[in-house]
Every structure is written in structure tokens, then in C-alpha cells.
Amino acid sequence: MKVYEDIKPSVIIYYENPAINHAELRLIKEGLEEEGVPVETKIAKDNVESLAINAARESRLGIGIGLSSGGVCHLQHRRMLPGNPIMKIQFGVQDKSYYRLLGCNAARLAKIMPLKWM
């Protein structure tokens, strides 16, 4: 078992379905990459609120992202309430660039830089 100090600091993404979430996941990771913050991903089954907050609790940075198979996406911080994410993307959003923005904001949260809003 890993001791806490061994865990690499990174933003953690929990997502439901590798087949369906592929495109959105890629965009989120691009946002994080551009900002230069490491990211880890894991497949998990749950509602989006729990995915996000559990990811945040798992992350050493305290920042997690939950992505449901329907494309709903929450950006969460360990100390926020589960139903009150920092940023969320609703079901059926047309503009896919929101996913990259969410990834970018996850990284900015870690770097303590102002978040970007559309």
C-alpha cells in the first residue's frame, strides 16, 4: 500500500465510460496539459456528484473531476460540498470547448490562478 507522501500530486478524473467519454476526456486533459498540471484518470461507476467529490478527495491537490457517461461534468475541490461544484457542464452542451476550459480551470485551481469563464 502507498503511503500518502508517495502519491504524486495530480488532478484526478473519475469517468464512467471509456467508450463514450473518450472525446470529452481528451479535451479535459488537453486543458490540464496546456497549463502544465499532472493528471490521473480512473474508471468508476457512480453519479456525477460523487464521482467528482471522490476524485477530489483522492487527489493530493484536493482537485477532482467527475465525468458521467451522459457527458455531465463537475469540477470539484475536496473542501466543497458534493452538490456545489466549482464549475459544471450540463448534459447536452453543444460547445465542446467547455471541456477544455474545465480542464484548464482545474489546473488553474491547483496553481492558484484566476479561473477563466466563457
Partner: protein, 603 residues
């Protein structure tokens, strides 16, 4: 018997209500309202009525209980401010990009000829190139184009990107090159032109492109050409990434605007001061020629434009013709104005030199009799015109616990800074100077480049802080404050104003230190300067050291730091100075209104 003292000021109208019991006034309530119309005009009646209503409500009495209203004999002083830049940077044929994207890609210095990334196929082997990547090219495609071209033997030495893709591209290409991204106006970048791209290591700033000789080396410039690119180098100082492109016809000019000079007429002599030489020389001349009879700008110059603007406003206010407006005092302050560089490609700003000027005119006596009559007619309470404003302010200020004769009062207002001094023999000397709160606003707005007047007013009035986490902020003095509830993510990591418990986010490019520095400097330049000027005019034998007590009153004395800044400066002269506390309870407000009630009674 109940008396109301009514002080109609430039910005606010204040009331002091007192019940007279056996020849002693006993204060029962105060009222305040914004002044309606210009001070000294019949429009003021509405403001007086509103302030009276406020006081009457607090006292729990009615209008008809008031037996007498005393109004001030307003000092006929009107001040205004204006500013003129004296340098201007123009870039013809866009030649530089000097902004700070948060995440540029790669690192180093690259030189080459600009070419669109999708046209790299057409370039010859061995050519030095800079790739231009507009927003319709995906970063993966861009990386593929560049990798393919590098394999073919092209020297791609840098890239300019429109989207925020710098790091993504950098991570996907085989050679480490400097990449500047978020260049919004990329379509204006000239093609087939020599360009230099520089990205510094994190934590450092560009070295070559912020140095005129560095640019000269890259572009092979002669000494004359090197002189002409100095403004570019200056504009790029402090950036982490930069691009300089030199088009054959392109040029950057720093134009000196002929600012002109001021002709200052004193009672006994006159003199001219060049605005270009800065405010210190102007103020020295004002001191030497005091008292002034008028100030003019040299014909056709910006100085003239500046003063005629002031005159025009004055003439509207006072109803006199512009020729009759005689400027009695000016306060000049050097400043820097943040202005958009004409011809920049990514909304670059450049600080231009400017001179800010406050001017004060004495109009002919304001018709307070008319105001008094109108109040009497409309509110149906007898009105009496009380004493001179300065004397009333002193009477009011004397109710501050811990002060005594001889005493000076500094009235820090919005338009003018006034001082009055009362010596042991009850003789009062008063002076009115140009420059106060509004000038501070103008300086803050110019140096921070903010156009929104309400934001500027808030920056003046509230301390800044930086949101450091979702639950904590760090105030400008370094103290950290924690919150129970998470803060709005929209203010996260932003610089904010602490406005009455609320966090108001400010534009992202400003930082806490800069705001604090600009704010305090503006206050010092106006209020410290004017406090010293005013006090030395009213002091016995013009010697500030002979004053023992200074009481600060007026709206700007409510500011959270102006009284401290002034006290600090006056401490050098052995003066006890501080914010007044009228009647031990009103703070620096209500001095004149209180003085009006007290006048005529033995204190």
C-alpha cells in the same frame, strides 16, 4: 427653541439639530444628504430638505418644531481637474507582440521568416523560419506540420499561435523552440518577414528583445535605426515572452506631443513654466509668484487645451464668460497614463508620461441670499445666513476632544483643500487650494488604466486583498483571513476590494502591490502636498512649525488612510494632527453645521 445648522458643501449637505436650553445648545441629531445642484444655487433646497428630514426623523420631532435654520456663507470656490499626456507611442506597420500569455511554450530565442504553418511544404531546405499558427489549425495538426518540416531539414526556430495552445504544441514537437500563444490579432502578423521570438524560462523575463542592442543585433540595425526601436524594447521589459517583427516600412515612433507652457501671473510678477519639465518646476513657480491672479497656457498647445477645458466647465458652473474666469491656484502632478499601444497585436499597454492639473477659481460671491430665501419660502422656517465657512469649520472643529487654540483646520474635500487657522487673539486666516479627492481619482484611473468611475472610487476607498484559496484571502498588509463558507469561484485567485464585507473582483492584470502603491502615491501627491501648501499659507509668519494642532475634517478625512498619511508627513514639523471628532461623536463630518449652531453662543 430648536436651531438647525445647514452646511451646503460641494458634495454633501449636512445638518446639525440642537435644542437651546438656557443659552446652551444641546445637540439632538444630525442629518446628511447629497447636495442637489451646484453649491450656492437655488437647486440646493432639495438637498437641504432631504438632510433636514433625515435629522428630524432621527430626533423624533417634526419640521414645524424647528425655529431657525442657519446656513453657511459658502466660499465661492470651484475646482476642477484635467490631464494631458505628453508622450505617445505609435507603431506603424505592426512590429511587435509584447503580452504575457500565462502559458507560452518552449523556451529560448528564435529568428526566422514568418510563414503559415500549412505552407511549410513549400519552403526550401535550410531556410530559417517562424511558423504562424492561426486558430483554425488544430494543435495536433500544427505539431505534425512542424515535425514533418523539421524532418525535411527546415530550420523552424519559433512559432506564433493564436489560440492558447503553446504548451500543447511544444509537448508534441521534436525540437524545443520558443512559442508565443494567445496572439489575438494574428492575421495582422506580416508574412515572409523577419521575426524574432523569445520565451524566457519560468520566473525570468525576456533578455534580448527588451534590450535595444539585443534587437539591433538580431536585425542588424544601424545606430539611427536602433534609436527608433527603443520604445519597443521599453514596452517589452518585464514580459516572459515577446515577438519583434520588422517590416521594411515599419516603424515605431515615440511622438513627443508639444505640451506647451503655462504662463503664471502673480500679483507682482509673472513667469512661464514648461510642462515638459515636470510638475516640480511648475509648483515652484506657483510658490514664488503666490498669490496668483491667473494662469494661461501657451497658444495652440496642450497646456492651453487643458486650461480652457477647466475654464469652460467653470463658466458653465458660475455663469460667467470664460474670459472672466481667473484661475487662483493650480496643483500639477506628474503621472503615467496606461494607454493602449497603437498598432500592437495583442492589446499591449504602454505607460505614457502625463501631467495632471487641478485648477481653482474664485467666482464672484455665490448668491446665498437667494438660496436662503428659497429655503425660507419652501420649508417655511426662518433662515439666517451664518458666518464664513472657514470660521464655522474652526468653531466646529474646536469641539473635538483634546484640541485648543491656536488651531488649524484642514478641510479635505472633493474639489479643493481648504485650511483655516485661528490664533490666540481669535483672528482667522483661511486659504483655498486646488486639488483634492477628485484629483486622486483621476490619478488612480490614469495609472491603473481603469475607465469605470465607480471602480476607481472604490479603489480609493477600500483596501485590496488577494483571494488565496477557496476559503481564505490575504489582505494588503499580509494578514490572512479565513471564511467558514467557500468563496465564489469567480473571485478565486483574483485581486479583490474589501467593500463592506463584500469581495469585489478587479481586472485580472492588476496586482495587489501595484494597486496599493498607486493608490497611496496618488493620495500623497495630492493631500500631503496640499496640506503643506495650505498650512504654510495660514501659519503665523508662514512657518508651519508654529502650528500645534491640526484637525482634519471634510469628506476625504473619512478615508481609511489619508489622515494617517497626512499625520505622518506633519509629524516631521512637530504638529499634532488627526481626524477630527466633532462633538466627540461625529467623526470628521458635521464641523461646519455644528459651527453654525454654536456661533452666537459663548462656548
Amino acid at each position: 427653541m430648536i436651531i438647525a445648522g445647514a452646511d451646503i458643501g460641494n458634495n454633501t449637505t449636512e445638518i446639525a439639530l440642537a435644542r437651546i436650553k438656557g443659552h446652551k445648545p444641546e445637540f439632538v441629531a444630525v442629518g446628511i444628504s447629497t447636495t442637489t445642484g451646484i453649491k450656492g444655487t437655488p437647486d440646493n433646497v432639495v438637498g437641504v430638505r432631504l438632510a433636514l428630514e433625515d435629522a428630524v426623523r432621527k430626533a423624533g420631532i417634526s419640521f414645524k418644531d424647528i425655529d431657525l435654520i442657519k446656513i453657511n456663507e459658502a466660499t465661492p470656490v470651484i475646482a476642477d481637474v484635467a490631464m494631458e499626456t505628453i508622450t505617445e507611442t505609435i507603431i506603424t506597420e505592426s512590429t511587435m507582440i509584447g503580452h504575457n500569455p500565462s502559458t507560452p511554450g518552449g523556451v529560448g530565442l528564435g529568428t526566422g521568416v514568418t510563414v503559415p504553418v500549412f505552407n511549410l511544404d513549400e519552403c526550401k531546405v535550410g531556410e530559417d523560419l517562424i511558423a504562424i499558427i492561426p486558430k483554425n489549425v488544430d494543435f495536433e495538426d500544427a505539431a505534425n506540420f512542424i515535425n514533418k518540416a523539421l524532418k525535411r531539414g527546415l530550420n523552424i526556430n519559433g512559432a506564433i499561435v493564436q489560440k492558447d495552445d503553446g504548451v500543447l504544441i511544444s509537448n508534441r514537437i521534436v525540437k524545443r523552440i520558443p512559442i508565443v500563444d494567445e496572439v489575438s490579432l494574428i492575421e495582422k502578423v506580416p508574412l515572409k518577414t523577419k521575426a524574432v521570438v523569445e520565451v524566457a524560462e519560468p520566473g525570468f523575463t525576456v533578455k534580448t528583445l527588451s534590450n535595444p542592442y539585443g534587437i539591433a543585433t538580431q536585425f542588424d540595425l544601424n545606430p539611427d535605426e536602433t534609436k527608433s526601436i527603443v520604445p519597443i524594447a521599453r514596452a517589452l521589459i518585464g514580459n516572459r515572452s515577446a515577438v519583434v517583427i520588422r517590416t521594411p516600412l515599419g516603424d515605431v515612433k515615440e511622438r513627443k506631443i508639444p505640451a506647451g507652457s503655462l504662463l503664471i501671473r502673480g500679483e507682482n510678477a509673472k513667469g512661464t513654466a514648461d510642462i515638459e519639465n515636470g510638475s516640480d518646476l511648475i509648483m515652484e513657480m506657483v510658490e514664488r509668484l503666490w498669490p496668483l491672479t491667473d494662469v494661461e497656457g501657451s497658444a495652440g498647445s496642450n497646456a492651453n487645451g487643458l486650461l480652457s477645458r477647466v475654464r469652460e466647465i467653470m463658466s458653465i458652473v458660475t455663469g460667467q464668460t470664460t474670459n472672466d474666469i481667473k484661475i487662483q491656484d493650480i496643483l500639477a502632478v506628474d503621472t503615467l497614463v496606461r494607454q493602449k499601444v497603437k498598432g500592437g497585436l495583442a492589446n499591449e499597454f504602454f505607460s505614457e508620461d502625463a501631467v495632471a492639473l487641478a485648477a481653482m477659481v474664485k467666482s464672484s460671491r455665490l448668491p446665498m441670499e437667494k438660496v436662503a430665501k428659497k429655503i425660507g419660502d419652501e420649508i417655511k422656517i426662518p433662515v439666517q445666513i451664518g458666518g464664513i465657512e472657514a470660521s464655522m469649520a474652526i468653531l466646529g472643529a474646536l469641539t473635538t476632544p483634546g484640541v485648543t487654540f491656536p488651531l488649524a483646520v484642514l478641510d479635505l474635500g472633493g474639489g479643493s483643500t481648504d485650511a483655516a487657522f485661528i490664533n490666540g487673539e481669535n483672528k482667522i486666516k483661511a486659504v483655498h487650494l486646488a486639488g483634492a479627492g477628485e484629483m486622486v481619482n483621476m490619478l488612480i484611473a490614469a495609472e491603473l488604466g481603469i475607465n469605470d468611475k465607480s471602480i476607481v472610487e472604490d479603489i480609493k476607498r477600500y483596501p485590496v486583498a488577494k483571494v488565496e484559496s477557496l476559503f481564505s484571502i490575504r489582505l494588503e498588509d499580509g494578514i490572512v483571513k479565513f471564511y467558514e463558507e467557500p468563496l465564489d469561484p469567480k473571485v478565486f485567485a483574483r485581486v479583490v476590494l474589501l467593500k463592506e464585507g463584500e469581495l469585489v473582483p478587479l481586472p485580472a492584470e492588476l496586482n495587489v502591490e501595484k494597486i496599493r502603491m498607486v493608490r497611496r502615491k496618488a493620495k500623497e501627491q495630492v493631500f500631503v502636498k496640499n496640506a503643506l501648501r495650505a498650512l504654510s499659507r495660514v501659519a503665523p509668519a508662514s512657518n508651519i512649525r508654529l502650528i500645534d494642532f491640526v484637525v482634519l475634517v471634510g469628506g476625504s478625512a473619512l478615508d481609511f488612510e489619508i489622515p494617517e498619511i497626512i499625520s505622518d508627513a506633519l509629524a516631521e514639523y512637530g504638529i499634532v494632527s488627526g481626524r477630527g471628532n466633532i462633538r466627540g461623536c461625529e467623526g470628521p463630518r458635521n464641523a461646519v453645521a455644528t459651527g453654525l449652531v454654536l456661533s452666537g453662543f459663548k462656548i
